[in-house]
Symmetry: C2
């Protein structure tokens, strides 16, 4: 039985519901990143107040610290973290990529166009810390330098112990600088790993010492920015018995490439499986990917930029302002006058600017609360528009601002007291 219920379609965009043991996810949904079982600066009650429906933690990071045995011992990731809503776990494929080819190539998924990856992956950072074999992948722990070995099987066991609702298989994520020959080899290895993961997932399902017996496994589609490989991977992974499908790996060298990858991939995916896109979270990307049939997408960006002072607002260039800008010094208005979030209901831009200029850590929480609430509201508008067949109009309303705005760029950091 499918975990996904399709409610409405508007072109390729669609709205529906994903059912999990910890509640439902209305799609399209934005999935904030809780890498170490904590969305940075927020706690579980804060998260619920933002309207967030689901978070994604990282099996790789939790394996290193505090370890899956500990989390299982304490009742699984929901009880451990206090977030009792739907929870996904990424397998660690992307982290392996970051330590391996990403490090050698100095590159992110879409060749540095996303600020998320720019910071850490813009320049080659040295030799790969990873060795990939048919059996699995060896890598160095970022905590203590010890050697770890991940296999498709042990990554399933790891996530069984974490007890997330939606698990992702181990994949090999290639970089836009890998050639087609290597990308194809890696894709085929990812396909073989998918089958092994599925077998292990089935084998471990009867064990009674896992915290969550109603887990679902997503496959990951690879194939880089190559049309025939993406189609091949979509069909191969789509045909396996996964509950959902994630589109991973290199999405090319530009936003155009990313849109192409989605157009080459999504049409070959089974309609009744939810589709997740890993690591995308700009407002224009959300519209572009939902328009191409994506149901859920995760990104660290909204909370990361919040910690740097950047908060979302309607009717401003790129729908954002930077609160460090001196023009907000004595601005008594909330971040966004249309926003009902806790931060906008209680604090002025002037006070928030004071907090970040004074390095007060309460700023990080208040700004993160706003950005996630803002995204939750955006996704709600998108779901309603798809149901009403007005998605295109909504997209134009939101993105038109960028072309109309003629004001000074409020993102500029004006400094000053």
């Amino acid at each position: 039985m499918s975990i996904f219920e399709l409610l409405h379609q508007d072109g390729a965009a669609r709205t529906g519901v994903i059912h999990t043991a910890h509640g439902t996810i209305r799609t399209p949904a934005f999935v904030p990143v809780a890498t170490r079982a904590s969305v940075k600066a927020l706690d579980a009650r804060d998260l619920r107040a933002t309207g967030v429906q689901v978070v994604i933690a990282n099996a790789y990071h939790l394996h290193l610290q505090p370890g899956e045995e500990l989390i299982a011992h304490l009742g699984g990731i929901h009880r451990f973290s206090g977030w009792d809503g739907p929870t996904m776990t990424d397998s660690g494929g992307f982290q392996v990529f970051s330590l391996g080819a990403g490090k050698e190539h100095g590159i992110g998924k879409v060749a540095s166009i996303f600020p998320d990856y720019e910071e850490t992956h813009l320049k080659p950072q040295g030799k790969s810390l990873v060795r990939i074999t048919e059996e699995g992948v060896y890598f160095k722990s970022i905590i203590d330098g010890s050697t770890c070995f991940f296999t498709p099987e042990n990554v399933i066991a790891l996530q069984r112990k974490l007890g997330s609702d939606i698990m992702l298989v181990l994949d090999e994520c290639t970089s836009p600088l890998h050639d087609k020959v290597y990308t194809k080899q890696a894709m085929e290895r990812t396909h073989r790993w998918a089958i092994r993961a599925q077998e292990e997932f089935a084998r471990l399902s009867d064990a009674d010492n896992f915290p969550n017996l109603n887990q679902h496994l997503y496959g990951i589609i690879q194939g880089g920015a190559y049309k025939d490989l993406r189609r091949q991977s979509a069909q191969f992974i789509g045909d396996l018995n996964f509950a959902g499908l994630a589109i991973g790996g290199s999405l090319g060298k530009s936003k155009e490439d990313m849109y192409n990858v989605l157009e080459w991939t999504v049409p070959f995916l089974p309609t009744m499986k939810p589709r997740h896109l890993l690591g995308i979270g700009e407002i224009e990307d959300i519209f572009a990917t939902v328009e191409r049939g994506i149901d859920t997408l995760d990104c660290a960006s909204p909370t990361r930029i919040a910690r740097n002072g950047t908060v979302f607002t309607r009717n401003t260039l790129h729908q954002r302002i930077n609160l460090r800008n001196a023009i907000f010094k004595d601005d008594p208005r909330p971040i966004d006058e249309q926003c009902d979030c806790y931060t906008c209901k209680n604090y002025s831009r002037a006070y928030l600017r004071h907090l970040i200029c004074a390095s007060e850590i309460s700023f990080y929480r208040l700004a993160s609360l706003h950005n996630l609430y803002f995204f939750s509201q955006l996704m709600e508008e998108i779901r309603e528009a798809i149901a009403a067949h007005t998605f295109k109009e909504l997209k134009e309303t939101w993105l038109a601002v960028d072309y109309e705005m003629e004001v000074a760029d409020p993102m500029e950091n004006g400094g000053g007291g």
Copy 2:
């Protein structure tokens, strides 16, 4: 009319109520430090949830950033910060001390016995950045190095613009290494400044452009660790028309010295004025100072140690544990099983330890919430005990633990994963 209502006495310890324009303060009360109009890591709703009744901000820091004009323009410190409860502002006398004699002598109020001051004041840090004249005090801004000039008068105007409920006069805080001659000179100057402050306070009270027309002014008693000077200062400042009295300056070289200073000072203070002690916040100090007639005391320590992993618990050595300790790695219990704070109701020691070990900033908030709630509860117990004439028994119950405990020191940082 007195702002203080005395309800019960138990020996020299007393319980009562301080009335302010933003609500009442039941005493004895602990006053968390909100130096820059923010109790670190918490927001106003968090603070209310801890049971905190009153906070103390710092006029010196707010003058430098964001400036009192800005805060006045935005409706005063209550509207600016979102904390609508009673608010005190310290004048900056202690900051001047820190930049001046404190820096030259490398010393805090009580010669380094308090961890609060140890960090910044243990070693001589160079030449004084301060020049004290009869007219006022010149010092360098820690923000941009510019020269500032504080006088008893302009510090009143500054706090009128901030709009706090309880303002403190400008004083000169001496160090335990100052000799009696200098301490006496400084005390006499502080007395002259007190009269000037009071005149300016009266002069500005009719102005209609201040955010809070119902402000009260506290005088500050100096005299170092000299019995005759303390008595002289207590009588001089006590006789002036201040709403309340703070005991400032050097409290000697040991806790014994501090207790002596209180015993030399408090008996000479008018009964009907509330007595504030600046910068004291260990549990044993709270008992020792309340026992000697103190009504309110402020300290940055409970939130500062929280950010370092140290949280209060009953029935442990020194009533505290450090969550970084490896013994809490898989401990499913809350920080304190008798505590009803948000953190204890929702999170385990194991999860909190994971957060601090992973440097997750949500830790700082959850630990600070607990420590302030714990202190609020402690003060509530103290108020009830004074009313019931059982203060001594309560003190013995709390402090006996330190002598009885024979467990390994849970403060020790065991490290590990």
